[in-house]
């Protein structure tokens, strides 16, 4: 009985790059490919380009098992292979190599509204969509009233759905998908559409399904939803599983991925200059008290953050600042170089040239952990010149900070040294 519900062995999927684009083949393409091949003989660079990169692996050697009743999160950047994985699991497309087994019906909320026909009425679309999703007719008959109730379209049920508001349309579509009752439910970014109320409903339905003991695969960019709904998560990057573990660890790992780690970040200035940007970011650094660029700073010593930038023309009222965030995206603080009124008056106008804005983080402020720095350069309420929410990450080491004689993890992002007094007030 301990057989996994989903069992994947070395599943890989290869795409020809041209196929990922929308452009369909035509006979003419087939004919002209021959001509192109011939011309490549005269152009070595084009050849190496075309041969080397004309195929990509959207997924490479994916193996994992999912147990019955498990709620598994899948996260990864755009293009990491999440959608391809779901397509393979729902049998829309076949793997190029590898083998897999699935026990039970796979239903998915990524198909919300698929197969809805605008000319047909709500009632007709419920039947059509239900059949497309794999429901039997008597099953739809049985659930029909429930679906209509859930969708709240009520008396419009016999109106062509092309006359529905987009909200009604979405609710009806979701209602059908939500009543599918598959053994394995796949949810992909549905939460990105619809209003807050609709999203709440989706999440509610998902946790219902999970509580009924069915298996759920949840794909999302919404880290808080992933954290709330799943215990275990897979992180995909460039078609590979880079990590599988408890969701909180996986989310941390994901958020740290691809960020520079040496305590320094450089921007490609040329690009900004070519765009004619007035504000050109150059570098962002974390410095220890000795002025060295470091990835890890000590909380007890304090540290500095400096942003180097270039102005290509004069800007009035500019403020350049940083955000400090946790790796989960929660803000710790925001600070600008002209927060102080005197500083603002002194630097109201900054002419063209290269600048450094540097701030000191006082000793005994930050708790240990990994932090993300964001950068913002703007004129309040007028224009934002530059923003990067994930410019740099760095570590804070709490050795020697208040309370470190107890090797416990202190909650919270700050770990201030506070002046305590202890007095005896009663015998």
């Amino acid at each position: 009985m301990a057989e996994p519900v989903i069992h994947l062995e070395n599943i890989s999927k290869q795409y020809r790059i041209g196929l990922l684009q929308e452009r369909p083949d035509t006979l003419r393409d087939v004919l002209t490919t021959g001509v192109k091949r011939a011309s490549r003989l005269f152009n070595r660079r084009a050849e190496s380009n075309a041969e080397g990169s004309s195929h990509i692996w959207a997924l490479k050697n994916i193996s994992f098992d999912v147990e019955h009743g498990q709620v598994l999160g899948i996260i990864g950047r755009n293009g990491a292979g999440k959608s391809t994985l779901l397509k393979i699991l729902s049998r829309v497309t076949d793997p190029t190599t590898g083998y897999g087994e699935i026990r039970g019906r796979v239903g998915s909320l990524l198909e919300v509204g698929t197969g809805f026909h605008p000319e047909l009425s709500g009632r007709e679309n419920i039947y059509l969509n239900g059949a497309i999703l794999g429901m039997r007719r008597e099953e739809i008959d049985r659930k029909f009233d429930e679906i209509v109730d859930f969708s709240e379209v009520g008396k419009f049920i016999d109106t062509p759905v092309k006359r529905f508001s987009s909200g009604m349309y979405l609710r009806l579509a979701f209602a059908v998908a939500a009543h599918l009752e598959p053994e394995i439910l796949v949810v992909d970014e549905v939460l990105a559409v619809g209003d807050a109320e609709f999203q709440r409903k989706c999440l509610g339905k998902m946790s219902d399904v999970a509580q009924e003991g069915r298996t759920v695969l949840f794909v999302s960019h919404n880290m808080s939803a992933i954290l709330r709904l799943t215990q275990e998560t897979i992180v995909l990057d460039q078609g590979k599983i880079v990590m599988r573990g408890p969701t909180s660890e996986a989310v941390d790992h994901y958020l740290n991925m691809g960020l520079t780690k040496q305590g320094e970040r450089f921007w490609d200035q040329e690009g900004y200059i070519l765009q004619g940007a007035p504000f050109v970011p150059v570098a962002l650094r974390v410095l220890n008290p000795a002025g060295e660029v470091v990835d890890t700073v000590n909380a007890m010593e304090g540290f500095s953050i400096e942003l180097v930038y270039q102005l290509t023309k004069e800007i009035s009222g500019l403020r350049v600042g940083i955000y400090m965030l946790t790796t989960r995206g929660e803000f710790v603080f925001t600070s600008f170089d002209t927060d102080d009124q005197q500083m603002f008056e002194k630097h109201t106008t900054r002419g063209p040239g290269r600048y450094i804005s540097r701030c000191k983080i006082p000793p005994n402020l930050m708790n240990e952990g990994r932090y993300v720095l964001g950068v913002n350069a703007s004129v309040y309420r007028i224009q934002r010149f530059f923003q990067d929410d994930k410019a740099l990450t760095f570590n804070v080491d709490a050795t020697g900070a208040p309370g470190t004689q107890w090797p416990e993890q202190r909650l919270g992002q700050i770990r201030p040294k506070l002046a305590w007094s202890i007095g005896k007030v009663e015998r």
Partner: protein, 270 residues
């Protein structure tokens, strides 16, 4: 239990799975019919009007003006009896060639046997056919032409017509996923094919012997010949028809093979 594996060249037909999805085929057919005549004042009456108007034109041009021989039958009856299976074929061809591309949103998101799509378009064409068949019965009554025992063969001939439409439809629908040129070619194919079939003229116009047999390579020759024979008692099926049947069998088997081979990649390239 479902297995995920790389697509192989030749997979068995998996008719059992297709049967499990029969309700989907039903609903897709139903959708096609329903949507086709939505927001049209005359609605399903178009299924009747189209062949009537066509027969009218044929009768005037080929029957009255050109005095085309019509196997001793009233020309309208002669033309109508061929036009019915022809329209079944032409409609199925036209619709199925774009069917997969038209349902791309389904194909890229949901798994179901892909055969359901061209099948349902052919079935939808069959419904039009049945409606206009009633009109043909009316025309037969008008000319007091009573069908004989041959009529018992009609279901078989109909199946033949249906399989012919399906065979060509499978090829075109699968080809069109990859080469959109197909959908632009289909109107011309249909036009040429129509004049290459004995619709406005009798099969006797083609010289007997080798030419007649070569003519049978067009499967619609066999279909129309059989249809006229079953309903109106014209010249019975012969070697020409046998050739047509053979061609359809080849087209159907190869069409299924090609379709099954391509269907695994539909979602990736459509």
């Amino acid at each position: 239990m479902t297995f995920l594996r790389p697509a192989k060249g030749w997979l068995q037909l998996n008719l059992r799975e297709l049967w499990r999805y029969r309700e989907l085929i039903y609903f897709l057919t139903w959708r096609d019919i329903k949507v086709r005549y939505k927001q049209a004042v005359l609605g399903i009456a178009w299924a009747v009007l189209q062949p009537i108007l066509t027969v009218l034109i044929f009768t005037v041009i080929f029957g009255v003006l050109l005095k085309t021989p019509s196997q001793d039958l009233p020309y309208p009856l002669f033309a109508f009896s061929a036009l019915l299976p022809w329209q079944l074929f032409a409609t199925a061809l036209q619709r199925s060639s774009v069917s997969l591309v038209g349902n791309a949103n389904l194909i890229t998101k949901i798994y179901f046997p892909r055969l359901a799509i061209p099948l349902s378009t052919v079935f939808a064409a069959l419904v039009d056919f049945l409606v206009s068949f009633l009109v043909l019965l009316g025309v037969m009554i008008y000319y007091r032409h009573w069908p004989g025992l041959n009529t018992l063969w009609l279901p078989l001939i109909m199946l033949f017509a249906l399989l012919t439409a399906l065979a060509v439809g499978l090829w075109l629908s699968a080809l069109n996923v990859k080469y959109r040129d197909v959908q632009h070619m289909v109107p011309f194919i249909i036009q040429v094919w129509m004049y290459a079939s004995p619709i406005v003229y009798p099969i006797e116009i083609i010289p007997e012997g080798t030419w007649r047999l070569l003519y049978g390579l067009n499967p619609m020759v066999g279909v129309i010949q059989g249809f006229r024979w079953a309903l109106l008692g014209t010249e019975p099926p012969n070697l020409t028809m046998l050739i047509s049947v053979g061609v359809v069998v080849i087209l159907l088997v190869s069409g299924l093979y090609y379709f099954r081979r391509m269907e695994k990649t539909f979602a990736d390239i459509v």
